[in-house]
């Protein structure tokens, strides 16, 4: 069981060694990463059968004194997604050793975030995830990438300061950092305005990566300047891990009506602004970036519902987006550019156009695709919550979904319309299309097996929302309230 630490240690070890290996053989440096990722996938598969949830103490120091890893189905699912998506995005042909090392650092840090059970440990690996993504954006970038990254870095630095202030407030009141112990103390020590303030500070800090409403100005700039596969990774993976740690912190430590209201408001604001901006976008990549902001707003609305239903709704939207957005960014490898170039694209690339239609239908939420079920969970959760704010949010979401449908179907219409653009988009690279197809295939498979998947997700969400279980798992029976 202690072997779960390998999920973080091995990618980091590989990253440390890659630059030196790259000096000897660039090919070896490029191939080492995928091998380690595959081994990690195998490790996750092995852990899947174990009795979950389980807590693993790093360094043999029992929590709360030492740092612990917390393994539940949700954590393992996200760890698996980390390795699979990075393996899929691996730059086989053009990658440099430096790029390989940075990708392994990204894998290690995101896996660590999925498993972490300690507030400050989350902070450290969140920063590592930031640093690795900065490095990946700029590694081969032009000057625009450098500038966009600097602006991102400064905003993210501001987020770091807020995160630190939030951690300091929490530590002042509780004197501990372990999430389970914090969960134990929170109703007593962090219930009032102080707790809410700490939550908002941490929310804004983590929200930078999660594309939360007021701190997402970097998204369109960075996604436009970065390579497309990397934008897909940032939108599909990095934001989701930020979402997962936010979920843990919310459910365990700051589970209050006010915190949920904050999430509902900010999430709705993100959904509205993101989808409206996407409607105005004149090019494919910006459209995808803004739609990503909108989808993540929907995730936060889901978390704002509260309880196991809220966890399930938010995670369902996040998982759906995790498949759909990277696929769209792989298509953008050749379609990136003005939307006018895509006039009549369905004749030139019928398969890719059909795949886009599938993804667009799922994003809008047309049954029976997974996107529909995810959105339905959010809508039903809001309806069941029943407060005035929840109804207002529900109305906003339904209204803006029309906008989302409008811009996506406008583009679909353009695909199947007559007429040739002055400059057609280039042919899609075979490997890019294959990767998009794999993700799209996963989406279709999810639509077929939606019932067992729904049951599984319901169980996982109930486990994640079960705070007493979390506390006893980490602190033992003595920790029971």
């Amino acid at each position: 069981m202690n072997g779960a630490a390998l999920l973080v240690a091995l990618p980091l070890l590989t990253a440390f060694l890659t630059p030196s290996i790259g000096r000897v053989s660039a090919t070896a440096a490029r191939l080492l990463g995928p091998l380690v990722l595959i081994y990690c996938i195998w490790l996750v598969a092995g852990l899947w059968g174990a009795s979950l949830p389980v807590s693993i103490a790093i360094g043999g120091f029992a929590p709360p004194l030492g740092i612990n890893l917390y393994l539940d189905p949700l954590a393992l699912l996200f760890a698996l997604a980390v390795y699979v998506l990075i393996l899929l995005a691996w730059p086989w042909t053009e990658g440099t050793p430096g790029q390989a090392a940075l990708l392994m650092l990204l894998a290690g840090s995101t896996a660590a975030l999925a498993l972490s059970g300690d507030l400050f440990n989350i902070f450290v690996f969140y920063e590592l995830m930031s640093a690795a993504s900065f490095g990946l954006i700029i590694v081969r970038g032009e000057r625009a990438a450098h500038l966009a990254t600097l602006r991102y870095l400064v905003l993210s630095g501001l987020g770091t300061v807020l995160f630190l202030l939030g951690v300091a407030l929490v530590y002042f009141h509780t004197g501990t950092l372990n999430l389970a112990q914090l969960a134990q103390m929170a109703p007593d020590k962090l219930a009032g305005a102080q707790g809410l303030a700490a939550f908002v500070l941490i929310l804004l800090g983590v929200g930078v990566k999660a594309e939360l409403f007021p701190v997402n100005g970097w998204v369109p700039e960075v996604y436009a300047a970065a390579p497309r596969w990397l934008s897909g990774l940032l939108a599909g993976l990095v934001s989701k891990l930020a979402v997962l740690v936010l979920l843990r912190i919310l459910v365990l430590v700051f589970d209050s009506e006010q915190a949920q209201a904050v999430l509902l408001v900010l999430g709705l604001a993100g959904f509205v602004t993101g989808e409206l901006a996407a409607w105005w976008a004149r090019d494919f990549v910006r459209m995808l970036s803004f739609s990503s902001i909108g989808q993540l707003g929907l995730v936060f609305v889901g978390f704002g519902i509260g309880g196991a239903a809220g966890v399930m709704a938010g995670i369902a939207v996040a998982l759906h987006h995790m498949l759909a957005k990277p696929a769209l960014f792989y298509l953008a490898e050749s379609w990136g550019g003005s939307l006018e170039r895509l006039q009549g694209e369905a004749r030139r690339a019928p398969l890719a156009a059909a795949l886009f239609v599938l993804l667009a239908l799922s994003l809008v939420g047309v049954p029976p695709l997974p996107g529909f079920w995810a959105k339905l969970l959010v809508v039903m959760g809001l309806g069941a919550k029943g407060s005035a704010l929840a109804w207002a949010t529900l109305a906003g979401i339904l209204l803006i979904t029309v906008v989302e449908a409008a811009y996506l179907f406008r583009l679909v219409g353009r695909f199947y319309s007559e007429g040739e653009p002055a400059h057609a988009a280039p042919r899609l690279h075979g490997w890019d299309f294959t990767r998009a197809l794999l993700l799209g295939g996963a989406l279709v498979a999810a639509a077929f097996w939606i019932v067992p998947l729904g049951h599984w997700l319901e169980g996982a969400s109930q486990l994640a929302a079960d705070v007493p279980r979390y506390i006893t798992t980490v602190l033992g029976q003595g920790g029971a309230p």
Binding site: E142, R143, V161, L164, L165, A168, Y171, E221
Partner: protein
């Protein structure tokens, strides 16, 4: 009227954060923005290390001659601050390297001017600039930057 010590410490931490944030928002020059970010981080670190302070306590190092009844301060925040300082150093170094490259590519570090140039560059890269050239975009780098723009950069 004597000012309580804790007020002074808190004022220092919060003052640094406030000065830093105001400076980041108000400065146009990117290097100043970066310096202000460093200040704000220092404020955050100070608040974090204050969270471990105890009155009448000594440094958490066992020397064997600790007087009876004297306690030690909390060692955990000290370790945390060490970590967060190192993280700050790494990020600042990366930011400075980016500044050097940006200064060389754009010839300026003025935030407003750079933002306008960034929008132009991105529009160009995404193929929606008003004066899009008629070159056919191709393959993985669909829109090569026109050569003319690179030359106007100051050395």
């Amino acid at each position: 009227m004597p000012i309580p010590l804790d007020t002074l410490f808190f004022a220092g931490a919060l003052g640094l954060v406030a000065i830093g944030v105001v400076g980041m928002l108000a400065s146009r020059h990117l290097f100043r923005v970066l310096l202000c970010l460093g200040l704000a981080e220092a404020g955050g670190n100070l608040l974090l290390v204050l969270s471990g302070y105890r009155w009448d306590s000594v440094a958490p190092i066992l020397t064997g001659d600790l007087p009876v009844g004297v306690s030690m301060v909390d060692p955990v925040p000290q370790a945390l601050v060490l970590t967060s300082i190192v993280i700050g150093v790494g990020m600042e170094a990366l930011a400075v390297a980016l500044l050097i490259r940006i200064r060389r590519a754009y010839g300026t570090l003025d935030g407003h001017a750079l933002l306008a140039r960034l929008r132009e560059d991105l529009d160009e890269r995404l193929g929606v600039a008003p004066d899009r050239s008629e070159d056919l975009p191709k393959g993985h780098a669909p829109f090569p930057a026109p050569a003319a723009k690179e030359q106007e950069v100051n050395p």
